[in-house]
């Protein structure tokens, strides 16, 4: 069975921030650019940039913290999707995510997080250096117990 995995390779990142732009425009709100879900941050070493983005954790703190069940795993993309219509903007997920990847878009008063663009992440699409990639990977079927 084939699935895709979002892979970040900071070694290839040049900090050009194209990913941010791509994300921002892909997630526009009422025709205006939205808050980017991805942040290339200083990796602490010379010329090292780390694009920080949601890790789509197995046991996600954001989903656990959400008291209205607005964050659920998308079975198709594997992403933890945040249902904007269900979200009540209590900021529990923003506070709870240990990686800071649930974000408050104060401009539009929305809580946002990476949803892998529904299976075609724009950031990876536009990354000029392949630091971000969305690759098909083969999952060996485990024998079910």
């Amino acid at each position: 069975m084939t699935t895709h995995r979002f892979v970040v390779n900071p070694v290839l990142c040049t900090g050009c921030r194209t990913c941010e732009l791509a994300c921002s425009f892909t997630h526009s709100v009422n025709g205006k650019p939205g808050k980017s879900r991805i942040y290339p941050l200083d990796g602490g070493f010379k010329d090292l940039w780390v694009p920080v983005v949601c890790l789509q954790c197995e046991e996600a703190a954001c989903a656990k913290a959400c008291l209205v069940d607005a964050i659920t795993r998308n079975p198709e993309t594997g992403a933890m999707d945040l249902d904007e219509d269900r979200c009540v903007r209590c900021m529990a997920c923003v506070a709870a995510c240990p990686f800071g990847c649930s974000l408050h878009d104060s401009h539009h008063n929305l809580v946002v997080k990476c949803d892998l663009c529904g299976g075609d992440p724009a950031c990876a699409h536009f990354c000029p250096t392949q630091a971000l990639s969305y690759k098909p990977i083969e999952i060996k079927k485990l024998k079910s117990a």
Partner: protein, 258 residues
């Protein structure tokens, strides 16, 4: 899957779905104020009333609130039947008499051609349209800090005994969900005030930026099993830390590759 007809168009919907969700998916604009995905449908504003009929009920039609009417195979829905439009007009006219200054009500009413109420303005009217979203979301989240008080025309939303509500954790969900922004709060530095209750916001260890209230964090740790230390830093600090960790790993990788 069930198939139904909405305004003459065949539409597919999931079994058990409410009519309103299906209608909205069709980009058909009908007003509604008390519906929100986070809470159970309530049916209070009645604005989303539609006319329905069914081939099995020849000559029969009825009016139902679409927010809590589950889809049915073969249902024929009309979202803008003349009687329904008339009802919405009256309802918005009535709502305008109570909340003449609420922008949401003004806008919806204007769409139905009502710019001023034709009824007597309610003397102590305000922007609260009593949709009950705040109470329901508070209940849904498990706090039950506020509730409806009184009944009938004099009903209002308030904390118990009009005192700072003991069960409130200051999450602001009520204020955020309020469709007319009637519920007020203030955030000043690391102090938050809502419903007359003061809260201290946790300050990020690194940046000093306020995050959520201490009470809310405690609740989430206790009931949702989220480690307390997660709440000590804000999202920016968390991201920086992640970048730093990943940076270290990448640096090793880089060094190895060299």
């Amino acid at each position: 899957m069930v198939t139904l007809t909405i305004n003459g168009k065949l539409v597919q919907a999931e079994e058990g779905e409410m009519l309103l969700a299906v209608i909205e998916r069709q980009n058909i604009d009908i007003p509604s104020t008390c519906n929100h995905k986070a809470v159970e449908p309530y049916g209070a504003c009645r604005l989303c009333t539609v006319e329905i009929t069914h081939p099995k009920w020849p000559g029969w039609k009825k009016h139902v609130t679409s927010c809590l009417y589950p889809v049915e195979e073969g249902l024929v829905v009309s979202t803008h039947a003349p009687e329904v439009i008339e009802l919405r007009k009256t309802l918005l006219d009535l709502m305008l008499a109570r909340s003449p200054k609420a922008k949401l009500v003004q806008d919806m009413a204007a769409e139905y051609g009502v710019t001023r109420t034709s009824y007597e303005e309610v003397p102590d009217g305000n922007d609260c349209i009593l949709c009950g979203l705040c109470v329901r979301v508070c209940d849904q989240m498990g706090f039950h800090a506020i509730s409806a008080v009184g009944r009938g025309h004099g009903k209002e939303i308030a904390p118990p005994l009009d005192e700072p509500p003991p069960d409130c954790v200051g999450c602001l969900a009520c204020a955020q969900i309020c469709p007319t922004n009637f519920i007020k709060y203030t955030d000043a530095g690391n102090k938050r005030t809502i419903w007359g209750k003061e809260f201290e916001l946790i300050a990020c260890e690194r940046t000093g930026q306020p995050t959520i209230t201490k009470e809310f964090a405690e609740y989430l740790s206790k009931h949702r099993d989220i480690p307390e230390e997660y709440f000590k830093r804000n999202d920016l600090t968390h991201r920086r830390e992640l970048a730093a960790t990943m940076g270290k790993i990448s640096q090793w990788q880089r060094e190895e590759e060299e």
